[in-house]
Amino acid sequence: MKRHNDRIHDALDNPKLSEQMADVDSHRLEAYRRVLARLENARIQPSDDLFDRIIKALPEKEPKHIPFKTVRWIWTPSESGFAPVLIRAAAIVLVMLAVSLIVLNIHMKRLQKTFVFHAPNAYSVELVGTFNQWQRGSIALRGPDADGNWVTTIKLPAGRHEYMFVVDKTRWLADPNAKLSRPDGFGGENSILEI
């Protein structure tokens, strides 16, 4: 039954081939053709003044002519029923947000950094710097190991960091292995780490 019905539609879509289709129910096909022929002729005419009414309703201002295709794409609404300008604006905001997050992520990516300080006779070594607002008590180094080194590994964001070691809770010392340093304003020097 379904196959016969499909053949009728095939015959309607390909009138030239329909004559060669032996398996089409010719009575049903004729019934379809009669209805569709009437549909094709059932064109209702609009009022005579429709043209004048349309022309009268056109805005006086000329249609907007936006020179660049990209700008045109952003600003000109398409023919779809929804609000494409809003959809496009939302899409642009989402893309910008995604790009910002990627940039921010790269910028804020925290890298592991190991600090080593040689002090075989010390009983405590701490790390202070711009990354912990020079506050003692937050980053303690472990040690000493067999070589007399105190070690800690922390995660730091990319950028420039100044730091010092506090030995035995009283002595503030620069890192002798630091490649860069600058005066701390108290007669000493801050070590500088750039990552």
């Binding site: 019934a31 094709e40 009414r53 022309i55 609404p77 029923g81």
Partner: protein, 196 residues
């Protein structure tokens, strides 16, 4: 002298009727409103035809036709000059029709039914009597009616129907097929004799 005047007249007079849709749209964009007038003249019947079969109401269909052309005029800059203006304006009309259906749902059913019957009777009187056909067509869901009208009244190809209604080609074919089946079924149920 007359020959000379006629020649000059022919050179100076712009023959809008001979121009392509793209050229007319371009002229309209450059401030020549007559270019757009020619586009209205060419396609107002096609747009009205779709609008009428979708709304079953002459007044609504004429309002939609007017709105479609005004929208097209405002958005003319987004029209791709290489594409068919007919398909573009019909797409605009199809989308406006969807919105009309949404607002119509809010109307009272009795008023809707009264208006539909009155319009069908009036249009039936105008020329040939298509009252039974229009009643059957109006009974189809808009989802099936739109592709059926585009195919069999506007003569669109399945690819064009798909583009206009923003659906796939296979969906367009399926809807036309179901539309035909339902229309024939409704027509047959209206007529007890074989005379459709």
């Amino acid at each position: 002298m007359t020959f000379f005047t006629a020649t000059v007249y022919n050179i100076v007079t712009i023959k809008y009727a001979d121009m392509s849709d793209g050229a007319l749209a371009e002229r309209a964009l450059n401030g020549d409103k007559k270019g757009f007038e020619e586009l209205v003249r060419r396609y107002q019947r096609a747009v009205f035809g779709l609008a009428y079969h979708m709304t079953s109401n002459v007044a609504d269909a004429e309002d939609l036709t007017q709105e479609a052309f005004v929208t097209a005029y405002r958005r003319l800059d987004s029209f791709d000059m290489d594409r068919s203006f007919r398909n573009w304006i019909i797409t605009i009309c199809a989308n406006l029709t969807k919105n009309t259906f949404r607002s119509r749902i809010r109307r009272k059913k009795t008023e809707e039914s009264y208006l539909l019957q009155r319009e069908i009777q009036e249009s039936g009187k105008k020329k040939e009597n298509h009252g039974d056909l229009l009643t059957a067509l109006a009974a189809l869901s808009p989802k099936l009616r739109a592709p059926l009208v585009l195919k069999h009244v506007e003569g669109c190809a399945y690819e064009e129907i798909a583009r206009i209604l923003n659906i796939g080609i296979s969906a367009a074919k399926m809807r036309v097929k179901r539309g035909r089946d339902e229309l024939v079924k409704l027509m047959e149920s209206q007529h007890t004799t074989n005379e459709i």
